[in-house]
């Protein structure tokens, strides 16, 4: 029974890691090709959440099945789980802080529909 569960976890983990690598490549291409900062922020989020959090969860599932690592596989599994949790919490917070700082510094918002933060800044708040 445990061997069957290990096989299922191994294949789910490998699929997640491969998807994560592709997301990483897409995020890097978007970060290189997009026109300005606030559009690049979208590609950067694809690169961090899709390219680091999902494959780290996949690595957690994958290392549970890696018996060739001995008992160290539990260190690897728990370490990748903790790293994925840390990145999942801190990457959006850092991106929001950076976007706010860039907006305050005056980086232009190019395809703009409405910008309430700029209106508030114009009113002196």
């Amino acid at each position: 029974m445990w061997e069957i569960i290990q096989q299922i976890l191994l294949y789910i983990g490998i699929i997640l890691v491969v998807i994560g690598a592709l997301c990483d490549l897409i995020g890097a291409l978007g970060l290189l090709r997009f026109p300005n900062f606030f559009v690049r922020l979208h590609a950067a989020t694809v690169g961090t959440i899709g390219g680091a959090v999902y494959p780290l969860f996949g690595l957690t599932l994958m290392t549970v099945a890696c018996d060739f690592l001995g008992y160290w596989k539990w260190l690897l599994a728990s370490g990748s789980f903790i790293t994925a949790l840390i990145i999942m919490i801190t990457a959006p917070a850092g991106s929001h802080a950076l976007a706010r700082g860039a907006h305050r510094r005056g980086v232009p918002v190019e395809p703009k529909v409405c910008d309430f933060l700029e209106e508030d800044k114009g009113r002196g708040e």
């Binding site: 494959p55 690595l59 099945a65 790293t83 991106s95």
Partner: protein, 94 residues
């Protein structure tokens, strides 16, 4: 094919993709018009290296590399906050 061969083959097949991604992030770091663009690229590159380090820990059977990955993720968050604070107030605190 045993589990070890399968896992190591997958990791070896994924390494060129990570190489290309890291090269593209480096191009953005060098080209970046503003400081915030460079910071964003360094951010993505650090999280990328963080996951790459976890893959290398499985590949080389060296589990202590995962400790470095946790520290790198936390350091990147602090780097983001410091750059954002500098951009907003033009000072880094006492």
């Amino acid at each position: 094919m045993s589990v070890e061969e399968l896992v190591k083959t997958v990791i070896m097949a994924l390494m060129p993709i990570f190489g290309i991604a890291i090269a593209l992030y480096t191009v953005r770091i060098i080209k970046g018009p503003t400081v915030s663009d460079m910071t964003l690229a360094v951010d993505c590159l650090s999280y990328d290296v963080c996951f790459f380090m976890a893959l290398l820990a499985v590949y080389f059977e060296a589990p202590f590399l995962i400790v470095c990955a946790i520290c790198l993720a936390l350091w990147t968050y602090i780097f983001d906050l410091y750059i954002a604070k500098y951009l907003e107030r033009k000072e880094l605190g006492e």
